[in-house]
Symmetry: C2
Subunit: 654 residues, 2 copies
């Protein structure tokens, strides 16, 4: 196995050593960084920047402040620690491995099925709260701290936060209420590493002077250098004396701390702009080798000063095996279409919630800086701001990840929609894939969350061409709100549309012929699986017609009546929960055209939380991959057994 | 007509008078207060307290600062004013009447169909933004202000806010972003009247020192007496000089200003606690007469000082004609059940979002103060706090209005649910009735917003007895999250349950016999309409079976198969949007049991935004009243024509 980590025994040498405390702390944290880097590289993604900035704090807290390593996680009197931002969890996992809570094989299954979720998840030993969507942590910690007092339990609750998440309003709600309620067994620690995603917090949406702000909210605040263990010790001992109010330590840190080139932003050659590049994603092989080398050198130096011998494994990078995919990103097509349409339409205003690069908005940002509003991590404010723009006759295009936009700002979207203006909500990272970040990021509820607004059209395009058509429709033709659902990763294949393709409201496109069953699907990920199922079934003489249906809440009744007429079996494949998605609307339509006589209708989607893992393994786990679909639709058990496992053991196909 | 208001002509006398400016301002505002009181009394509900506290500011702004009365609402260079809290809209309507924007007959149709919505609504002349749910206004104003700059339009944007809504996180998001973006044509004015609903802001969740806080967020802040017109003038002229940052005037005001007994809280005889009683609701006849008298006296005195004669109409109160209803409130049964269950279950913790009285939590609050968390208007924080409590083994019962709880805190509910704890979300004010507050408050989306969480049971009980059963089920039996949907008003009738009634998951109760069609409904409001339809139809020999189905997302397949077997016509009546409610789940179940052969299936619910008005007129407007239902189900047009109007003119019954 090419990925090896520093073993627990090596950490024990440092933890139980009698030498200089500060040196031992520094060494311990560096060793955690080494393992974090290996784990993230193996996972192929993960957040190194904030794992590294927070690791000194994490190591300090567990080894010096928290009683939990002694009393255990089942003890009601334990000190509780969790991270509100959650992105830094690879670092936390590495620490939990170092003290024997997580075994080596788990750490090397970061972001994989049955491994460690991409964001904190309570089913994992040592994880106290599921987090990953920003701004909820202090509230949740407040609840735990309140419960400790009510239950007369000892222990404090320590919540690590990011700095960017102080743009989220919930943080300020929680600060105000915690102060009012005098929750003094709650300690927040800000990992103030200055960068959110790839830009400076101070440039995106400045939170300074955050010390003043938090003090004004009634908290006791100490600001320190978060990489100085003596300052950490002093600060935590000082706040223990403070009673009757909640406390926060603002720890100034360096994002990417420990690896020289990860500590600095990079200037892009094309744009000339400076960005921080190590927020998320695994390093390339070169950077990986260099990073390990720097950390190894640092470990050796500190170990030598302490006279400890630390065994550092040899690690050589291997080629990353990636999800089979095309080169197409529908998000690229979206970004390009926006730029194109904006040329002749000055009413188009683009709003972003700190995800400009992921949402492929940078081209627009560079082309039309005066029409680009970077609003930071404040989805509610962004959406209501868009409401104001729309009331002034502009066309706001609001961008964030689907799970944040549709849920966090749901009431604001309803409020705007009630004003009968037109706003385009672009729900990026829609659906189950990529599955590595885990269920805080995978969006399986957004269609349901937006679908019963009386005046919204929800569209998910299947490829770059249809994306362009969809953007044009939303901007130029739609006379109500639109939600555009976009897969964020590369399309598994280029979905080919027929020559006679037309983008007409309520009407989908037949992609394959087949007389035995029809399946409706949408978006590049699930259409790929549906097409794969169709291809598998064709070999067995079973004809499955695959229909691309990008209109998720508008169904043309004549069209659906005609297309389903001859089929005894009708399926809808969701990149979403089976409840509240396209299937519900197709079922409505079928009921309206009295089209049920003797037919089988099934919605195939998620009935549980989406699993974390590689795309293939997660789709297979949820029985949403082409082979599982083929088995389910045909009833041909042998198709499934071909792959040599009893996949349907818990539930036989109908 | 017993309700008469001061006419526009009288206001003109004051507005165009040459006498002392301050006296004229005071007089004008008092006259607006008079009309506000009449309008609210006629409406039977409305927010007097904050209408009165804000009216000096409103009158000052329109008559002195805003250019909109001169340039008109169509002018892009107009100054824009709107209220973020929106509760104060009766006062604003009165002002808009005084300057001829709203005719007298409209003002006297407050909270009625085709009248004036209970919260601001952009379709009404002079209303710039739909508001009513708290905390969105500064964000929306920021969008408008940004658009003004982008479009190179003149004019400022003035947003009035409450003080309680500074507990909402979105406020702080918007303050931070507006300062960062240097939006200097945005002016917020806080109507700091100290009370939120019926308690002091400082007791519920203190926002002080709010001046310090807002300053720390980078705004220019001036704090003044909001009833002193000279101070208002001075403050607004000072802030005009401030460039490059947004500005806020914190105006200390008195809730209920203008009527002596509305300016003071009242000590309850039973509890001995002090509450503010004039937040919402119409005054009784005595208070109405006394209030009018005080305002008339004040008007006469000020007019005399100016040598103006103001014609004040005579107003005598009439008996309020109210919605036919029983004495039953399911919320009472809920509150009582909670108190009862808490006796033997110390794990029950009740959380409230400043709606304790409306949600009937006061009994619990008094009985178990140590288990009651009043969290103020901060739904996201409340929900995540509940998440923390649940992780500590407690059973949080989270209360707010359905439209706020399910939408505003949606992502937090998802996050909690992912931790697989059990939390009970009590969605008060569920459904369409009462319709007076308007669409910010009526909840027609909550079932859809919660329904596709993988681990939630949604229940809406039909009467007090079933409510008790439902609460017991949620607390004692459910092993997943529960959402309890409760109608907030009195039950139109006592729904009688049969002797053999059982509360069993997934199974409803047959309330009537009938062979011609079956209708599933839930909750006291819609079951009353379904039963009324059944009674009407019975006279024509049409048998409609009414089934009470409190389990909104759990359907027992055997039960639904058996109960629908013999019917050719199946209806589901929603107290909700027709999309995403019980109907979708029943349709799912019918599809699963292949139960469609030759059957008609219809979901009857809202397909548009809910209208504002009296219960009967709104139900009739949406064709959800018993008579409309009877016509629709039977196809007997004559039933509908009986009531002497062509109700189905736009759409004939199927």
């Amino acid at each position: 196995m090419p990925y090896k980590i520093i073993k627990k025994e090596e950490f024990d040498k440092v933890r139980y050593h009698e030498g200089d405390w500060e040196l031992r702390m520094r060494l311990y944290a560096e060793m955690c960084r080494y393992n974090t880097l290996v784990a993230v590289k193996k996972a192929g993604s993960g957040h190194l920047g904030s794992s590294f900035s927070s690791l000194d704090i994490v190591a300090y807290l567990y080894l010096n402040e928290l009683n939990v390593l002694n009393v255990g996680w089942e003890n009601d009197n334990r000190d509780i620690y969790f991270s509100s931002k959650g992105h830094d969890v690879p670092g936390l996992y590495s620490f939990l491995h170092s003290v024997g809570i997580l075994p080596e094989e788990k750490l090397l299954k970061l972001r994989r099925l049955n491994g460690l979720d991409g964001h904190p998840e309570v089913r994992i030993p040592g994880i106290e709260a599921s987090t990953g969507s920003l701004g909820m942590g202090i509230s949740k910690g407040k609840g735990m701290a309140w419960a400790k007092k009510y239950k007369k339990c000892g222990g404090n609750v320590y919540v690590l936060t990011g700095d960017g998440e102080f743009q989220e309003g919930q943080i300020w709600e929680s600060l105000q209420a915690a102060a009012h309620q005098r929750i003094d067994n709650l300690i927040a620690v800000m990992d103030h590493n200055k960068y959110q995603t790839d830009m400076l917090v101070s440039e995106v949406n400045n939170i300074e002077d955050v010390t003043e702000k938090v003090k004004a909210f009634g908290w006791h605040v100490i600001r320190i250098n978060g990489h100085d263990f003596k300052e950490l010790k002093r600060a935590f001992s000082e706040i223990k004396e403070v009673k009757d109010k909640p406390k926060m330590i603002i720890a100034d840190t360096i994002k990417g701390r420990g690896v020289s080139f990860m500590e600095k932003p990079v200037t892009e050659t094309v744009s000339g702009k400076t960005y921080y590049k190590w927020h998320s994603g695994a390093p390339d092989n070169d950077s990986y080798v260099k990073g390990l080398k720097e950390l190894s050198d640092s470990i050796r130096k500190l170990a030598a000063a302490l006279n400890i011998e630390i065994e550092i494994p040899e690690n050589t990078p291997e080629e990353k095996v990636s999800f089979k995919s095309s080169k197409e990103f529908v998000t690229d097509a979206f970004g390009d279409a926006l730029v194109e349409l904006a040329k002749n339409n000055p009413a188009i205003i683009v709003l972003d919630g700190d995800l400009s690069a992921d949402c492929k908005l940078r081209k627009f940002e560079y082309a039309y800086p005066e029409r680009f509003i970077e609003n930071g991590i404040a989805e509610q404010d962004m959406v209501s701001t868009a409401g104001g723009l729309a009331r002034m006759g502009l066309i706001p295009v609001v961008n964030s990840f689907a799970s944040f936009l549709a849920a966090r700002a749901n009431e604001q979207i309803y409020n705007n929609a009630g004003e009968k203006t037109k706003i385009i909500y672009v729900c990026h990272f829609a659906g189950i894939i990529p599955a590595g970040p885990g269920k805080s990021h995978q969006s399986i509820r957004d269609i349901a969350l937006l679908g019963n607004l009386p005046n919204i059209t929800i569209i998910q395009p299947c490829n770059a061409f249809e994306t362009k058509k969809a953007v044009e429709y939303c901007i130029n033709e739609a006379n109500e709100n639109c939600a555009l659902r976009l897969v964020i990763g590369p399309s598994p294949r280029n979905i080919e549309l027929p020559d006679n393709y037309q983008f007409r409201i309520g009407i989908g496109t037949e992609l394959t012929e087949g007389d035995d069953a029809v399946i409706f699907a949408y978006g590049p990920v699930m259409l790929h699986e549906a097409l794969t199922a169709s291809e598998i079934l064709k070999k067995s003489g079973f004809g499955l017609k695959v229909v691309n249906m990008p209109w998720l809440n508008k169904i043309d009744l004549d069209w659906i009546a005609a297309i389903t007429d001859k089929y005894k079996k009708i399926y809808v494949l969701e990149d979403h929960s089976a409840t509240g998605g396209l299937g519900d609307r197709i079922l409505d339509a079928l009921a309206a055209v009295h089209h049920f006589k003797g037919k089988l209708f099934e919605k195939i989607g998620l009935n549980d939380y989406p699993e974390c893992g590689a795309p293939e393994e997660v789709l297979k786990y949820h029985e949403l991959d082409g082979l599982s679909l083929a088995g389910r639709i045909s009833g041909y058990r042998n198709l499934v057994e071909k792959r040599g496992e009893n996949f349907y053991s818990s539930e036989a196909p109908q």
